[in-house]
Symmetry: C2
Subunit: 207 residues, 2 copies
């Protein structure tokens, strides 16, 4: 529906709205004007009106935006109107950090287990989540409705593991390995290349 | 110089060029055509020519790009023509994951120490790096030439800690806390809001 007409730039900004609006809701705020949201988010009020008008325009003159409704609507657009079940591949420091991150479950993103090539070298549980060997993957995915795999393994193995996960039915990949995946077109990949983010920082420090 | 005229979109793409070119160099490749780079990076050859012509155009008809020179030039633009020294604030799983990440030092980004409010609850060393208590910060920054702080602490404390680091002379902040910092204008902040990246993934899975 409306979602189809939203530009990539707006889609990139929506999660940030989500974060600020969720904090407002937690603080008990029920409505907010574009002006107040503008002060808070350090974005112009007209940018906010423009962004939020993309999908319905919940703002009413002299009333502002209904915070809960806006969260619900942005959540629907972002595909968060249903829960997602995740597994983490790699139970090293990064995998454990992500598994311990409380904010995901608040947003309906549930990490269900971790997998590692050498689970005996790592912990057996992370925040009540089991750490399994990679050989347990097929049976686990058979029995559990998992739609996203979080890849925190070294780049040498990640393409092969991603392909295996794809063959087992996973279509969502959140990739922290320092390499682009090569998967069929119906796979959705979001890359987090941390050193690229760090290079943005050094660029802006220089310029 | 030329760097001033580079658009934000190109700056966002440069680290990715850096990654592919560095891999080529490691494999012993000395020159590459925009066509070959295009196949590798899954970007059109004309996009590549356009991006790389922004700063000098090292490509020569029938010769291609000199890989080493291109790495050097992109590195210079990205502020990586000098080493950067980093400290990590927070020695939890995420801080330890970042401290153990070998790729940073390859690019002249050196993590020098970790700091934690409760170092006695964590490890005392991560990959030969010491973990200090927060009270050791002023003396450490006095004695070491640190320009970037990596913030992996909970959002409740992060603004206060960032301000303290700023007052001690730090101007570069790589922020993993789930909150925007409020620092004077000469501070450079690069945010990594992981749950926002995950929401991009769920969006593209839905649409």
């Amino acid at each position: 529906m409306a979602a189809e007409y939203i530009s990539q730039a707006v889609v990139r900004r929506l999660p940030r709205y989500m974060r600020f609006l969720s904090e407002l809701k937690e603080e008990g705020v029920e409505r907010i004007s574009s002006r107040e949201l503008s002060d808070l988010m350090k974005v112009t009020a007209s940018q906010i009106r423009q962004d939020l008008n993309h999908f319905g325009g919940f703002g009413q003159q002299g009333y502002g935006y209904n915070v809960s409704k806006l969260i619900e609507e942005i959540g629907r657009i972002l595909g968060m109107d249903r829960p997602h079940n995740l597994i983490v591949i790699g139970a090293g420091n990064l995998g454990r950090a992500l598994a311990g991150y409380g904010n995901f479950s608040k947003r309906g993103l549930f990490i269900r287990a971790l997998f590692d090539v050498a689970p005996e070298n790592t912990v057996t549980q992370v925040r009540n989540l089991n750490v399994y060997g990679m050989e347990a993957l097929p049976a686990f995915l058979e029995e559990n409705d998992i739609d996203i795999a979080v890849l925190t393994i070294p780049k040498d193995n990640v393409r092969q593991v991603a392909q295996q996960l794809y063959d087992l039915g996973i279509r969502g990949f959140w990739n922290f390995a320092h390499v682009d995946l090569a998967l069929p077109e119906d796979a959705v990949v979001e890359n987090v290349h941390l050193s690229e983010s760090l290079m943005q920082l050094t660029y802006y420090m220089k310029n």
